[in-house]
Symmetry: C2
Subunit: 243 residues, 2 copies
């Protein structure tokens, strides 16, 4: 099976939702990263087996009481806030192995709403139990700290003052990298996100995104059809991303 096929199957949710952390395909990128087998066993005790959620269904919503972290098992999610005028603003997309709900830790309430972009599955980790467990196994909490540190880093590093073309190129480049470290192809992947959502996330008009996307395709940097994105000229794309 090709890496692209595996990627697409990921979104069609042909995954075993009974998988424990030990056998999970993303356990090296997830909270369990670097844990010994006995630690993994303990972690499994507090993590519910992964559950399936339908497209457009929320995992949790802004303002709800915070009690658990969530990890993407398969599929893709988006997290959003609502601005003063009631408009949705997308603040991140989540790939398998990525932790969601981190912004709820400090205030005891979820600060964002997380929704499935396609049929997906997730693991739920009760926060209190995770804290209790991490007293026994400090490495678990240190992993959490690392995950959060990385989140801070990547968020702060995001350029805000770059042109639309560079924004899109950077977005694609970052996605490509994230797919690659998950064992999927970084050159060709399935993207269950609407252009409207991408535009929203990148902070530009839908029309601008459409034009910019077309430009990248005309110059044969990328191909995009039926939600399958193919990177044709990686080098040049990366050059565009950095300006």
């Amino acid at each position: 099976m090709s890496k692209l096929q595996r990627n697409i199957q990921n979104y069609k949710n042909i995954v075993n939702t009974k998988t424990k952390c030990q056998k999970c395909s993303v356990n090296t990128l997830c909270l369990p990263s670097g844990l010994s087998s006995s630690e993994l066993l303990d972690l499994d005790k507090v993590i519910a087996p992964s559950k399936i959620v339908d497209k457009n269904k929320p995992l949790f919503s802004y303002g709800e009481k915070f009690d658990s972290l969530y990890v993407v098992h398969s599929g893709m999610f988006k997290s959003t806030t609502v601005n003063e005028e009631g408009k949705e603003r997308i603040i991140s997309f989540h790939l398998p192995g990525e932790v969601m709900g981190l912004d709820g830790i400090h205030s005891d309430f979820y600060e964002s709403t997380v929704t499935a972009l396609t049929m997906s599955s997730y693991c739920k980790i009760p926060y209190k139990q995770l804290m209790d467990l991490s007293i026994e196994h400090p490495v678990i909490q240190q992993n959490l700290l690392k995950v959060m540190s990385k989140e801070i880093y990547s968020c702060k590093k995001n350029h805000i003052d770059i042109g639309s073309t560079a924004k899109l190129a950077l977005f694609i480049k970052t996605l490509s990298y994230r797919f690659e470290i998950r064992g999927y192809s970084g050159k060709e992947f399935f993207l269950p996100i609407s252009q409207r959502d991408i535009a929203n996330y990148l902070g530009m008009a839908e029309e601008t995104l459409s034009r910019v996307f077309k430009k990248l395709q005309k110059s044969e940097m990328v191909k995009y059809k039926k939600h399958i994105l193919t990177i044709l000229k990686k080098e040049e794309l990366e050059n565009i991303a950095e300006s």
Copy 2:
């Protein structure tokens, strides 16, 4: 002594640098928040007494080995990265009680350079020792998690697609809030940041910032003279910030 005067004295560093956490004026906003006295005593053992650093001197630099977190004791710092063309990009300003160096946790190297904007003082917290201590006192690590969660939240929440005027208004509003919860006046405060740095941080041209700033002053929303910023119409300023 007025709140503004206290604020200015903060920058002139008329502070006791021998202060232990128990007596520190920002201990409720800093890592020690919510600790019992015995926990505070233990924390003090690993935190070096605060040290003074001169204007424009770096605390640590991008790429150096990560070994400690730093907390602002008085004054103000900026953290920066360098983009591909070698240009400095400011990613945050740090007020007393705020933790610096968090982005180094995940990679073992500092991911940014932190520099004093004015004569300032800081506390150094060796990370390994903090981790050891937090096995004994889990509440310490939970505070750290909260600090990081808040950081993620405020970073993600930052609007990126708003106009220059709104950006500046939001920047001022946020600063005002941060001063206020520190016990200084939120309506009038000393701002040891050059307009160039503000423009850099907000991702706009120096000239644009100058014009926008002037506009806010002409409409008598704020006053800005000799680095003292006065908010005249809080309500209206906040309205501008949200668009």
